[in-house]
Amino acid sequence: MASPAIEIENLTKDYRVGFWRKQRRRAVDGLSFTVESAEVFGFLGPNGAGKTTTLKLLMGLIFPTAGTARILGRSIEDVRMHRAIGYLPEQPYFYDYLTARELLDYFARFFGYGAAERRERIARCLKRVGLTAAAEVQLRKYSKGMLQRVGIAQAILHDPEVVFLDEPMSGLDPIGRREVRDIILELKKQGRTVFFSTHILADAEMLCDRVAVLLAGKLKGVGTPSEIVSIAVEGLEVLVEMPDGRALPPALAARATRTGSRYRLEVAEKELYAALEQLRGSDARVLSVAQLKPTLEDYFFELVGRERARAFAVDVSEK
């Protein structure tokens, strides 16, 4: 069995804060998980949860207070490992006096490519992110979305085995988001490992084999999106349309929401047939019956809400 692409063990980061820097604020608290090879792994959490801090720890931009991490079997302190990884920082900013082609050429030099190979790789990457036409424009004239694309181009320029993307959809229009999703899926098809942080849960549900949820620096769960939110069906949603002059049976009307002549009902699974019988008796036209499943977003809001409630309770009890 192939070894994991990323192994994180008890990773912890404290920042010193305050004027005398005597106080400590824990940004990441004892993270431990692994990411398998060729997996698309989503790193979820609200703003300030510690996602970017974790990515910066993995990139060696900041140093852990405790714990270790390995990427492709090498310690994160080993700079040679950087030959096999790509990284898109959050809200990337690059040398604005360079053009996209010059920036990529600059970065390609760190991998020791010859001039011809650099040219070929740059052309390929620019095409992949849709920036061929703007290749000779200085980056100071780029929009936020275009900078994001350049950021992705520099992250995949050297065909890395593991790609780290910090909020890759940020600042992109719907077309750009779709293109980034396609790039992630293409990387997966090529057998690359993709580790990306996001707070856009729909993207995570759509793309990820597994996700980890981070809240206030602590890991709240790791698993497939469906494992995370649990696959239990919460109930059924019935959409019906009533003929003119007819009303829903009173027992159902109490728990229905109305939009014009249409009604939306939520019923428990065991009550479905009884409800349908009543609807038939009222000449209702059933438009659809669908399962109600909690989404990752539901899970997320519940988790954040629970955490805030707990923090509030602690706060109140301490007072």
């Binding site: 920042y15 910066k56 990139m59 060696g60 931009l61 900041i62 140093f63 700079v79 040679r80 950087h82 030959r83 990884i85 790509g86 990284y87 898109l88 920082p89 990337p92 900013y93 690059f94 040398y95 006096y97 360079l98 600059y106 970065f107 030099r109 760190f110 991998f111 020791g112 950021g151 520099q154 992250a155 780290f164």
Partner: protein
């Protein structure tokens, strides 16, 4: 080496695109004005005045570039977070640092060379010929180069942990202190206090001695600069720069890039 070279070339390119070398226009105008005017108002000492003026301008312009570009070299990359993507490549922090240093040195070298050529042209205009004694002008320019290399290293060191404003203050403070090291030692001795005397001595040896790099007067009077001074200045600058760059590398290598 390849990594540092790539960073150095990019740093030079940044300076060129930021129009840093436009200062050469100012220098060219100064030299033209000096060559034309000095001939009319200083009979017999045109060369002395032009050499003094030219070398002082080379030194001052170079110093301003070394300080004000140097203090932002690393800080700007950290502040704008351009370092984040760069350091995810297989480059070590010290390689990046040395590349930035080499890039600014390259910029200063190009600037100083072009200004020296401008000075030479102005001298040609007033004197028509060059003598063997004029070689000391090149030595004076070489000393200015050493001085700028040292100032750049100091600015880079401060740039690793301080804001550009503070770094400029620290660097200029060290420069001024370094020009007057001998006076500081004498002052300490003159007070009669053993503590102040010792402090003056410590500062004399600790501060970079910029006084020894000034050979403008020798060059202006066409006097030869002793080989021993050239060797001593070269060795001193090399050693001091090495220590400062190692300290800068140690600081940057252990710093969190938040």
């Amino acid at each position: 080496m390849t990594m540092s070279l790539a960073v150095a070339i990019n740093t030079f390119r940044e300076a060129v695109r930021d129009r840093v070398l436009y200062n050469l226009i100012f220098f060219a105008l100064l030299m033209i004005a000096a060559a034309v005017l000095v001939g009319q108002i200083s009979i017999g000492i045109e060369r002395l005045v032009i050499i003094n003026l030219g070398l002082t301008a080379i030194s001052v312009v170079g110093l301003a570039m070394a300080v004000f570009i140097g203090v932002g070299l690393v800080y700007k990359e950290m502040d704008k977070r351009t370092l984040d993507a760069l350091l995810s490549k297989p480059i070590r922090r010290w390689e990046f640092l040395f590349g930035k240093y080499a890039g600014l040195l390259l910029t200063l070298a190009v600037n100083t060379t072009l200004m020296t050529l401008g000075l030479g042209t102005a001298l040609c205009y007033v004197g028509r010929t060059f003598s063997r004694a004029d070689a000391s002008i090149l030595v004076a320019v070489y000393f200015i180069g050493l001085e700028l290399a040292l100032v750049t290293a100091l600015a880079l060191l401060f740039s690793c942990f301080s804001t550009p404003m503070l770094s400029a203050v620290f660097t200029l403070g060290l420069y001024v202190g370094g020009v007057f090291t001998a006076d500081i030692r004498s002052l300490g001795a003159m007070t009669g206090s053993p503590a102040l005397g010792a402090m003056g001595k410590v500062l004399y040896y600790l501060l970079p001695n910029f006084h020894n790099f000034n050979a403008i007067a020798l060059a202006a009077h066409g006097r030869a600069v002793p080989m021993s001074l050239i060797a001593a200045n070269t060795a001193y600058a090399t050693a001091y720069i090495a220590v400062v760059l190692l300290a800068a590398a140690a600081i940057l290598s252990n710093r969190d890039l938040k």
